[in-house]
Subunit: 656 residues, 2 copies
């Protein structure tokens, strides 16, 4: 294996970009390019003293990687290289020295490995020592470099009240209100039930718990230091919960699990179908969603050492179908034309409405949706990526079975959904599988390799024997086969004789299985393993991917036309969602999944849905921002366009 594959190429682009943007001094010799990670296309960061290892896509900043994984690093600027507070020390691996580092650290410190975490790009495995927090952050960085000023909907106030007398017969509630002038206190019946006794048992020294102007509880003594919330990313496949400490704005624990609705089908359509065929299914699916959230809540509270009663708010981002099923709303009208939701937004709910055993009056915020197929997860993603606040022309693509696309020209935002089909999740692909252990996720072909083994380099999840091909591997495979000339622009494998002539080292892997379907062997256990038992890419797989990418590129092509923007003018493409984050930007460009742009402009946005959910918990103002997106973003229905099919066919070919 050589440095030719893996994150090498994108990394050089990143460095080039940083250099152009003036962030980087010329690299000291040996500091860049060495220790480039080989294998899976991920880099591993190990943080001490937390002693946690995380795998992240190459190119993200250490600060963001830490933040996304709940490791708190001091910062007041939110990772923009200006506050010079996000100090880390490299204990393994190296990183270039920026001019900001030189202004922050002494030569000795730099020699000891001290760097500003927001300027260290994770291009290879690193060990990092994080000093304890010295400032209590007033702001947190979440999403794609979004700095959120801490102002949670959950507020606590400790007060010491004067006791009532015959001359001062104010009600308990008024007495409390008079002592808390900066918050509105609308009482909840639960809080009123507790108020008289808690006041009198605590000598009138109590903490009021207020969520969005509602007094939800009263606690004895001073509990202001304990304030938590849980952000949920309710995916069709995977559900992620992040427990947040609202005092510091930092994640305390993260947990994820497969959505327990899986037995009813892998995607939204099969689950909607289940409710149409069986009147009991909706109730069961709602119950399973509740169970999933409840188990995750239990897990993060357990891990974070937080009592469930200290969780006063939850936020949830999910697509329209997941949200409907969670809330017990019949999803059938979402599933069949003309694709109608019951409502774009939801009333104020309680966490108990989602089956959660946290504080009994904890509030639940559910992200609103822009359309039946541009759901709350995408609104959360738009919020987390600042799509409405950035003046650049930016394209947001959440790649999946249903692909959501949004385009902002800095003024206006349009959005649509493109039916990409299951290819990216391994469905309908002969050797397809989910992104789990044994899945090939990175592929590099080297037509000039010295031997057959070196001609194909595979990155496999878990570093185990390959068992199949996940979405990012599929994109890589097709992209590389196009690049080396084994697939033509129309997506057909070239004739064997052309392959043997032009790419002899790889042509031997081109063969047939079954009734003569042409395939390219990616991996076989032994040279004698039959082609049908190897991990391969078939002609039909290429077609599936073509349909998927054509649906997506038709989507963004039409969005660009809606706003009158040329592809070359797109300044940033955000690849979102659990799949998009793992795509190789170079491969995405090569197959035409994204506009033909410098690779540097194509950014992995991470789990922006979950980040958006965290944001609205950290700042009630951001919640208003999410609601405002409903007004600001225009939804465009593609299936209503008479030219959609023609445009789709135009997009099937690979760019030349």
């Amino acid at each position: 294996m050589t440095g030719e594959r893996g994150p090498g190429a994108p990394f050089e682009d990143v460095v080039d970009g940083m250099r152009r943007e003036g962030l980087l001094e010329p690299p000291p010799s040996g500091a860049v390019g060495e220790e480039v990670h080989e294998g899976t296309g991920r880099v591993q960061l190990t943080f001490t003293p937390a002693n946690r290892s995380v795998r992240v896509p190459p190119g993200v900043s250490v600060f963001d990687a830490a933040s996304w994984n709940g490791i708190a690093i001091d910062s007041t600027c939110g990772g923009h290289g200006t506050c010079r507070k996000c100090l880390v020390r490299l204990t393994a691996g190296s990183a270039p020295v920026t001019r900001h580092d030189r202004r922050t650290f002494s030569e000795d410190q730099i020699g000891d490995g001290w760097r500003l975490a927001c300027l260290v790009k994770a291009t290879h495995d690193l060990g990092l020592e994080v000093p304890p927090l010295v400032t209590r952050p007033k702001a947190s960085t979440v999403g794609v470099g979004r700095q959120v000023i801490l102002r949670p909907g959950v507020q606590k106030r400790y007060v010491e009240l004067t006791e009532p007398t015959l001359a001062d017969q104010r009600t308990d509630l008024v007495r409390l209100r008079d002592a808390i002038e900066d918050l509105t206190l609308n009482p909840d019946l639960h809080a009123l039930r507790r108020l008289p006794n808690v006041l009198r048992q605590s000598d009138f020294k109590v903490t009021a718990v207020v969520v969005d102007e509602v007094l939800i509880d009263i606690e004895p003594g001073d509990t202001t230091g304990r304030r938590h919330a849980i952000a949920f990313d309710l995916g069709t496949t995977t559900v992620v919960a992040t427990l947040l400490d609202l005092e510091t704005g930092t994640p305390v624990a993260v947990a994820s699990m497969l959505n327990k609705q899986q037995p009813f089908g892998g995607d939204v359509i099969t689950r909607i179908s289940a409710t149409m065929m069986d009147p009991e299914a909706l109730g069961r699916l709602t119950e399973l969603a509740h169970q999933t959230l409840a188990e995750l809540a239990h897990e993060v509270c357990d891990e974070g050492g937080v009592a469930p009663e200290e969780v006063y708010e939850v936020a949830l981002a999910g697509n329209a179908t997941m949200t409907a099923l969670l809330l017990g709303v019949d999803p059938e009208p979402i599933g069949v034309a003309p694709f109608i939701q019951v409502s774009a937004d939801w009333p104020v709910l309680l966490a108990t409405d989602l089956g959660l055993a946290v504080h009994p009056r904890a509030r639940a915020t559910i992200f609103p949706a822009l359309g039946a197929y541009v759901g709350g997860d995408i609104v959360a993603g738009m919020l987390a990526s600042g799509l409405d606040r950035d003046k650049r022309v930016r394209l947001f693509i959440d790649v999946g079975t249903n692909c959501e696309i949004a385009l902002s020209d800095g003024e206006r935002i349009v959005t649509t959904a493109a039916p990409a089909g299951p290819a990216f999740e391994g469905g309908a692909i002969r050797c397809g599988m989910r992104a789990a252990d044994g899945a090939i996720e990175v592929i590099k072909l080297d037509a000039s390799a010295e031997d057959d083994d070196a001609a194909v380099t595979l990155g496999v999840i878990g570093d185990v024997e390959p068992r199949g091909l996940c979405g990012s591997g599929l994109v890589d495979a097709v992209s590389e086969l196009v690049r080396v000339g084994l697939l033509d622009a129309s997506g057909r494998f070239v004739p064997e004789e052309d392959a043997a002539r032009d790419v002899p080292r790889l042509a031997t892997r081109l063969t047939t299985v079954g009734a003569g379907e042409r395939v390219f062997i990616l991996y076989r256990a032994t040279p004698d393993t039959p082609a049908s038992e190897s991990v391969y890419l078939s002609q039909r797989d290429v077609r599936e991917l073509q349909f998927a990418k054509a649906a997506i590129s038709t989507g963004w092509t039409l969005m660009l036309e809606e706003l009158g923007v040329e592809p070359r003018d797109v300044q940033q493409v955000l690849l979102a969602g659990s799949f998009g984050s793992y795509l190789s930007p170079a491969s995405a460009v090569r197959i035409g999944l994204v506009p033909k742009l410098p690779v540097l402009r194509i950014v992995s946005a991470g789990n922006v849905a979950g980040e958006g959910a965290k944001m609205v918990l950290l700042s009630a103002r951001e919640r208003a921002g999410a609601d405002a997106l409903l007004e600001e973003v225009r939804y465009v229905e593609l299936s209503d366009r008479p030219d959609f099919n023609d445009r789709f066919v135009d997009q099937l070919a690979f760019p030349v």
Copy 2:
């Protein structure tokens, strides 16, 4: 029995008053005074074709009596003698002819018995024929002549929506909102769950059910004709439920029962004590309150032929303790000095929070309280009697164990509570009993009667053999004994020799029981019945009543001083509550329970708490009026006044 007793005297005052106010032509001979009711001090009105008989205090208008008892009579002016729509025909008994009658009816019709119901005072038993409603009322009369414009919080709108298409993908909620422009629709999760299916199963022809801007349900087809609510008067002793048809503003059914909390004690203090001694008691009392309301709701729905799901709102008026127990709030701080409520007002609740099985998302409005002992029942009473809207100087007195007093000078309102003790409910009175069958409720003494039997005339509830003395009988007894000179101004029975000299006919009834306590025999089964087994009034009973009336008169005296009003300037005294309504105004004046005023100015206000609860259901604007009372009325704590005891002692004597 002669015409000297019973309602004769007050009736003459009423007639005199009407004559002075120009409402009455000089009575045709024989039309007034004949058929004056003898016996219980109540008159009986029998309505046809409803075939319902009701017992009402003498002097109320037939229109009000019908309205309070759920018998709908046409009216657009609300019983003010101006619309001339409230036609009734006397089928038994007679009534004077007013000039309004002459303008409305022909001579023949008047001869046939036609009258305007709002101008017929119920002074004796009447039979009344009520024509079917010809106008659908836009207003209802409730409370003390309060006309309420029908504008319930519960609104229904029938709409026929266009079906969605790919070109019109509005959400179900927006589609509904766009069709209902005059109402705000904030969705409730329950309604959102039903909306998609009900729309599609009803060809998009549905009725939206909106309560106070919240969309609580969506019903197939046109159900706009079915709109109901229940008003509850949650008394410590008795609970009354009135089912209202919100389309017409009329009561459909009324039911009452004893509060199931009775086993925990007869008054609020014993129930509060129960919660202080037993930690389980609060939960049990809450449950019993819920059961009481639920049974009544079931009963009125059953009687009215209304499905419980068609009840979309409830309103409830109760004192602060009953309200706290209902809502599961610990009442202890209300029960002990300094008498603190948790809150004066309550958040928006659901009927299910009160244990009611009506529409699952029906709203519940709980009347706010002005103080721990001036509760929601009094706020409802103030609303129903228009205390805040009338420019007259008016004194409102709700007589009971706890007596609430409010005074308005037409601009300002002050209120207080006076601890009258249990005398008015028969407690601490030797032969005291509740106002139930066998209770003496009216007493007339005739010192110049020809024989012993005629010297004492008793009105007994149920016209059965007397068993005891209820509150109004107690007041009558003391009042009459003062009047005939058997009790002196200080409340002492006069010496036997003085009695024998001055009032020989009655002096024989003055004797002693037990250890020589002096008593006045009201009733004995046979001349041989021992005094101790008779129904009598004891010296101690007189003292109990003195304490009670002194507490009350101290209360209103101080209220008059607060506003700088002389007793003679009070233009109306409203006697409220189930007890106050049955008091003889003449007796109340005579013992000093109310200021010394012409009896005409002393008005029985009926169950104003229940009326107030009806009002807020009939008109959301009236609900705002109830909330406004919290700001407008100033609560004065008597127990905090250093001069209270001196003033109290001053009030113990009976006026001379």
